[in-house]
Structure formats: C-alpha cells, structure tokens
C-alpha cells in the first residue's frame, strides 16, 4: 500500500535520530504495543480456560447443546445466534477498514459513512451479547435435574406449555378459585427450586396453594452429564421413561434438585468454572467492544468537525481502527474455543 521503504535518506537523517526504525508514527506504534499486551491478557484467559477444561473431572458442556436458541424462535438452532453475532462483528470490521481506506484518500464523506456503519454494527453486537447473557443466566425451561441415583442430566425436548394456576387454598394475595395467568414460568421455576411443587400442586410465595395446568412435554430426552450409581455419563433416556423420571424429580418436593440458568456458584450447563469463565471472558470482550464503540464515536465526532481533515491525514481513524479489528480478532478466538471446540 505505501512506499515508505523506497524513500532515499541522507546519512544525517538516517543516523541522526530523526527516523523511526519501524517507519510508523509514534501513536500507531504505541497502539500496536498496547494491542500486544491486551492480546497477552486474552491469551492468558483463554489458556486458563483450556487448563480448567482439561483438568476438570466432570463432563464439560458442549457448545451446540448449550447455545441453541434464537430470539422469538425458541430452541433447536444450534450455534446460529452466535454465528450471527460473529458475522455482525466481521462486517463491522470490514466497514472500519473501508473507513480507513477512505481516510487515505482524504474522502471525508466516505469516512463518515463507514465509521457510522461501524458504530451501528458495534452497538448491534453489544445488544446481541446482552441477549445472550440474559438467556444464559435465565437458562432453559427444563433446567438440569438430579436423578434419584445422584446422576445429573440436562433435558432436551418440547416443554409443555404452562396454561394457568387454579388456586385451591387462599394465601395473602390470591383468593380461592382464582385463576393465575401471569408470570407462570418464573413462579413455576422458583417453586421447583425450593421444593414447593408436589403432585402438581404449587405453593406460591404468598402461601396460597394452586393446581398447575400444564400441557404434556413432548420428544423429551435426558442426557446424563454426571454419572450416578445407576446411569453412566453421556447415556441418554428418551420418550415416556424420560418424561416419568423428569416429572418425578420436579414433583419430589425436595429443594435444589433442579437448577435453572447460571450464576457464579451453580449453573445448569456444567461445572461451576464453566459459567465463571463464560461471564469473565465474554464479559471482558464485551467491555472491549463497548469501549471500542465509545472510542469510535469520539473519533467520529472529530471526523464530523473536520479535525483530521485540517490535520492533513486521518491517522486517528487508522489507530482506532486497529483497536476495533483487535476486538474482532479476539472474538474469532473466543468463538472457536468457547462455542465450537
């Protein structure tokens, strides 16, 4: 692209401390050094993830089983959402490199247009990550269950829809005979976690007891993730047998036999460290994306005001571009090692 290697220099310039051995400006070189140190941070995090995964005794979660949902469409779309996120980030990287190219031609309108596209792409990515986190924290409709023999299983299938709760015994808020239709799944999950669902009767927070009207589950499959005395790891139970076992567990009245979603102590997907690494690595990357959007926006304002045009070059756009591409680069690795492998 550039021809700086061909420039002829007299010996006073060459040896007089007036030349950069790298043929770059100070700012760009420092941005590269910063990126190397940041890359070491992410490299360290991902290697720590690999260490934990290899040292861990329990079955590690599989990406395509854990991340298989799309907004508004539900389950059954393995990896599609995260693929979409990856694509958004790659495209925003492309618009950034086009902004840099426009800057090299001193085309202010081009820089404005492509930088704006980059910022919009970055915001889309941050938004997608927010949805991903929300979904990860809240978990699946089924949750992870602990069977009678001590083995733990994740559940796949079509969750029977909750229709309503009919109050049998009045509590502080609900009268007898009242039909509750709001916030059913949330209350249902809470009751199961606390062991307050027995034989299809749920004890709500206000002390009232209600009958649960729920459609039948379909196509259910239990996949054993931690082995117990009866079932071995990775074995599968399907159909009516699976439904019977599942309903026994959720109706057992014993707390903590079902785990929904994830926090820093337990999660339904696998070992505790899995969720911790998920939150830390994707969170740290998301923070980089967010700060990248902010920096891009500040530079964008500078472009609009014509600061760089008057300066004679758009190297600021190039420098913020380096940071933005780096964020994309990190995501390429997170995508592979967290979701694919």
């Amino acid at each position: 692209m550039s021809n700086h290697n061909e420039t002829q220099l007299d010996s006073a310039t060459l040896w007089g401390g007036k030349i950069s051995p790298f043929s770059t400006s100070y700012g760009k070189l420092m941005m590269w050094f910063f990126l190397v140190s940041d890359a070491l941070t992410f490299g360290g995090l991902l290697v720590a993830y690999g260490f934990t995964r290899h040292a861990c005794q329990d079955a590690w979660p599989i990406g395509e089983e854990t991340f298989n949902s799309l907004p508004f469409l539900g389950h059954g779309y393995p990896l599609l959402y995260v693929a979409l996120m990856t694509f958004i980030l790659i495209v925003s990287s492309v618009t950034m490199v086009l902004a840099v190219e426009a800057g090299h031609r001193m085309d202010k309108r081009g820089v404005v247009r492509w930088m704006l596209a980059t910022i919009v792409g970055g915001l889309f990515f941050v938004g997608s990550q927010a949805w991903e986190w929300y979904h990860f924290i809240h978990g699946s409709e089924f949750g992870k269950i602990e069977l009678a023999d001590g083995s733990k299983a994740i559940v796949h299938g079509h969750f029977g829809e909750l229709k309503n709760f009919t109050v049998l015994e009045a509590g502080r808020h609900h009268k007898k005979g009242e039909v509750i239709k709001d916030d059913l799944l949330h209350q249902f999950h809470h009751a199961i976690e606390e062991g307050k669902l027995v034989d299809g009767k749920i004890t709500l927070h206000d002390g009232s007891v209600a009958k649960v009207n729920r459609a039948k589950d379909e196509h259910m499959q239990l996949i054993i993730k931690e082995e117990g005395t009866k079932y071995t790891a990775n074995s599968k139970i399907e159909g009516a047998a699976a439904e019977k076992l599942y309903n026994e567990v959720i109706n057992s009245g014993t707390p903590n036999r079902v785990i929904y979603g994830a926090n820093l102590t337990v999660n339904e997907y696998g070992p505790t460290q899995y969720a911790q690494f998920f939150f830390f690595i994707t969170g740290f990357h998301g923070f980089h994306v967010f700060s990248g959007v902010v920096i891009n926006f500040i530079i964008f304002l500078g472009v609009l005001r014509g600061v760089y045009h008057r300066r004679g070059h758009y190297e600021m756009v190039e420098k913020t571009g380096l940071y933005w591409h780096f964020v994309d680069l990190v995501w390429v690795f997170v995508f592979t090692f967290f979701y694919l492998v």
Partner: protein, 122 residues
C-alpha cells in the same frame, strides 16, 4: 520550536483513487473468505457430534481455520502485512514464542492435574 526535519510517517498511508479501487477489491475478497470460513465452522459445529469418530479431525480443522481467519484480520485488515519487516516481527515473534510456551505448559499441566485428581479419587 517546531521541528521540520522529522519525517511525517502519517502521510505514508495516502493513496489515490486508482489504488483505492484495488484495495477495496481486496477488502471485499477477504470479507467473502472470512464469511465462508465462519459458515463452514458453524455447519460443522452444529452437525458433527463431539462423540463421533471424526471429531478430533474437525477440532483441529476449527483451530486451523481460526488461525487462517486471524491471519487475514491481522495482515490485511490491520495492515500489518504492509508494514516494515522490523515492525512485523517485533509485534508477532515475542507474542508467538510466549503464547506457544503458555499453551504447551498449561495444557500439559492440566492433564497432570486431571490424572492426579483421578488417582486420589476426586
């Protein structure tokens, strides 16, 4: 006093409309390559199960494809391929040496820890 004898490297990136066309063509080509790689990865990830016999092959395929993607991003999008050799190696070499060492030592140790945990019955 403002020095006028220092080389202004920031201007070296400038090019004309004709060169710009070539560069944009290259950018779109790289975009297509990155997109195709991602699509292939997602299809393999979604349809090939981790317990299947070809999984180790697929896994190494993912790692190689990731390295290819990373190379395109760093060399083309970040223009490191167009920089001077000195800069290229100052950025890449120390990083590679350190990270390969780190990967080797950590995964090796992880297997040892795993074996020890198993041995002591955890």
């Amino acid at each position: 006093m403002e020095r006028d004898d220092i080389i202004e490297y920031s201007l070296h990136g400038h090019h004309d409309e004709e060169a710009g066309k070539q560069i944009r063509k290259k950018i779109w080509k790289v975009t297509a390559i990155l997109t195709i790689i991602t699509v292939v990865e997602v299809i393999c990830g979604a349809f090939i199960k981790q317990h299947s016999s070809i999984w180790p092959l697929v896994k190494w395929g993912f790692i190689i494809l990731t390295a290819v993607k990373a190379a395109y991003i760093v060399l083309i999008f970040m223009h490191l391929g167009d920089e001077k050799k000195t800069l290229k190696y100052v950025i890449l070499l120390p990083y590679f040496i350190f990270i390969i060492y780190l990967i080797f030592i950590c995964l090796n140790e992880a297997n040892a820890v795993s074996a020890a945990l198993k041995f002591f019955g955890f």
